[in-house]
Amino acid sequence: MPDFEKLDKAIHEKGRLAIMTLLASRVRWSFQDLKAELKMSDGNLVSHLRTLHKLGFVAVTKAVLDRPQTTYALTSKGRSAFTKYLEVLEQIVRAGKA
């Protein structure tokens, strides 16, 4: 029987789940776009992104266009962890219906 214990704890935190979801929806997100979409403070967002980066789920790219800009993308490890996370959630829902 699947349960919440099987969910990846790093992703299951509300803020990080939202970040992973957005990163899964587009190839690349700028810090400002993530902040605007999630309505998080700079510090909070940086902290979550750092955690996900340390786990190897998120790749960080720094570039200078008109001004310095940091963009974030899911790594293949992050995408696979997110897919697995969704599968466990779906299993829990299915098991609850049975």
Binding site: L22, E37, V93
Partner: protein, 220 residues
Amino acid sequence: MNERSRAEEDLRVIRNLMERATIYRAISAPTALVGGLLAVGTSVAFWLVDRSRAADAMTPDGRWFATIWLVVLALVLAVNALFVRQEARRGGRPFLSSGAKLALRAIAPCLLVPAAATIWFFRNPDPIDAEVLVSIWIAFYGLALLATALFAPRSLAVLGWAFLLSSLLVVFWPKPLGFDPRGMFPDFAMGATFGLYHLLYAACIWSRRRPKERGNSATE
């Protein structure tokens, strides 16, 4: 809350976030405003020119009418490209974002028929029937907008339906109701649809816009 309810809630949050992130507005409010103003201005200009003609003067060939509207289209496309470029630079995104490419792929097939019809009308030696040409432009523009409905905000789909239904109105408008000896009906149809509809659409977007979207409109 049991585990199943919690899982369902999590999945609902994920789905909502993903939907929000993948929505693409193919026509931004500034583009709609500029396009709407140009269309209304062109329509009024045609009407004024028509009023200055003698009452028994012949209706000019539709080529003149079509050429002017194609120039307006070119102007709106150029302005839109400027807006998109500006937004892309501000957000550090490429000129053609993934959303823009998706929208172009959806829209392009719907523009083939009006493009071909316009070329056919110009190459045909007979006078252009502006009424038919206008109904084709309005109908296929509506279809192009509706082709983006899967990833577009609802307002854009409503705009698409408004264009599509208006094109039917242009075709089936009972002639006795629209006595039009000077052939101004196509001009009014263009002004009402490409002009007023776009102005209404721009007004709707701006009135509903949340602060976070202000710097995020033309591209993604």
